[in-house]
Amino acid sequence: MTGFIGDWHALAILFVAGVIPNQIWRMLGLWFGGGIDENSELLVWVRAVATAILAGIIAQIVVQPPGALASVPDWLRYSAVAAGFVAFMLARKTIFAGVIVGEVVVIAGKYWLG
C-alpha cells in the first residue's frame, strides 16, 4: 500500500503543519468557550483576518496556478472569476450560479484557444 499512503514522513508533516495547528482552536473553543462574547472586538478582528487569509488563498490559486491550471492564460483565469462574480450577483448570491459560469468560461475559453 505504499502508493496509497506515499511516505509516512509526509503524513507526520500533515499532523504537525495541518492537523494540530487547526484542531487547537476547536479544542480551545470547547474548553474556554463559555466566557467569550461572540461579538467582542477581538473576534471581529479575528474574523476579518481569517476572511482576508481565505481571500489570499483564493488569489494564490488564481495568480500562481498549480498543475494543469497553469496551462490556462492569466487573462482567461481572471475573466472566469469576474464572469462568475457577475453571475453570482445577478442570481442574488447563488454560489452555484457563480461556480458554473466561472467553470464554463474557463473550459470553453481554453477549448476555443486549443
Binding site: N22, G29, E38, A50, A68
Partner: protein, 250 residues
C-alpha cells in the same frame, strides 16, 4: 425533506436521531458546494504531488477546507513546516468563535465536555450554518446525535469527492483538469462572499484578494499570512472608524 415533529417517536433513540442527521445532508445545497470544493482539493493534492491516503487523512483529521488548501499549496511550493503551521493556525482561529457559538445549542444539564469533542471536531463553516437551520427542529436531548450524523455524513461525502477528484486529475485531459482545479477558488470565493455580514467582512475579502499579489512579491514564504493580517487589520480599522463616527454623531 422534512424532519419529524419534535414529539414524534422517531426521536426516541439517539440512533434514529443520528440517521436523521445523516439523511439531512440531502436537504442542503451546501452539500453540493462542499462536494465541488473537495473534488477540487482532491485534484489540487494530486497535482501538488501528495498521495491519496494523505489527502483523505487531511480531510478526516483537519476537516477545514481553507486549512487543507494552505497545507497543500504551501508545502507543495516548498515552504517549511513552521511556515505552513503558522498560516494554518491563523486561518483556523475562525473555528474558535464557531465552536463557542454552536455548543450552547446542544448542551443539556447532563452533557459532559467529552460528549462534545466530536461535535467540536466536526464544526466548520457548513455545519455551523446548518446548526442554526436544523437544530430548532430537533429535540434538545437528541441534538448531539443528530449533529454527529450530519457531520459524519458531510465528511463521508467529502472523502468520496476527494477520491473522485484525485482519480480524475490523474486521468482527465488537461482541459478538464484545469476546470477542476478552478473549482476550489470559485467555490471559496462565492461561499465567502455569501457569508459576508458586515462591511469589515467585505473589505477584508476584497483587500485580501488585491493585497496577495503584492505580498507575493516579498517572497517571504508566508505571503498569505502577510496579506491576510494586513488586509484584515485594515478592514478592522475601517470598522472601528465607522463605529466611532456613528457614536460621535449619536
Amino acid at each position: 425533506m422534512a424532519l419529524p415533529p419534535l414529539d414524534s417517536p422517531q426521536w426516541q433513540t439517539s440512533f434514529r436521531a443520528f440517521l436523521w442527521g445523516a439523511r439531512s445532508i440531502g436537504a442542503t445545497v451546501l452539500t453540493l458546494v462542499l462536494f465541488a470544493t473537495y473534488l477540487g482539493i482532491g485534484a489540487l493534492a494530486h497535482d501538488s504531488g501528495f498521495s491519496l491516503g494523505w489527502t483523505l487523512a487531511s480531510t478526516a483529521f483537519v476537516w477545514a477546507g481553507p486549512a487543507q488548501i494552505i497545507v497543500i499549496t504551501t508545502l507543495g511550493s516548498g515552504a517549511t513546516v513552521l511556515q505552513s503551521a503558522i498560516a494554518v493556525t491563523v486561518s483556523a482561529i475562525r473555528l474558535f468563535p464557531m465552536v463557542v457559538s454552536v455548543l450552547p445549542l446542544m448542551r443539556t444539564e447532563q452533557t459532559k465536555r467529552r460528549h462534545l469533542i466530536l461535535v467540536a471536531h466536526l464544526t466548520a463553516v457548513t455545519l455551523w450554518v446548518e446548526c442554526y437551520r436544523f437544530l430548532p427542529q430537533v429535540p434538545r436531548n437528541r441534538r448531539i446525535a443528530f449533529i454527529h450524523g450530519l457531520g459524519l455524513g458531510l465528511v463521508s461525502v467529502c472523502l468520496i469527492a476527494n477520491t473522485i477528484g484525485y482519480a480524475l486529475a490523474a486521468n482527465l485531459t488537461p482541459l478538464l483538469a484545469a476546470g477542476m482545479l478552478m473549482l476550489t477558488p470559485l467555490a471559496f470565493l462565492f461561499s465567502t462572499a455569501r457569508n459576508c455580514r458586515e462591511l469589515a467582512d467585505v473589505i477584508a475579502l476584497v483587500l485580501g484578494l488585491l493585497l496577495f499579489p503584492l505580498a507575493a512579491m516579498l517572497n517571504s514564504g508566508v505571503d498569505i499570512l502577510v496579506s491576510g493580517v494586513a488586509a484584515g487589520t485594515i478592514a478592522y480599522a475601517v470598522h472601528r472608524a465607522r463605529a466611532g463616527i456613528v457614536r460621535a454623531r449619536a
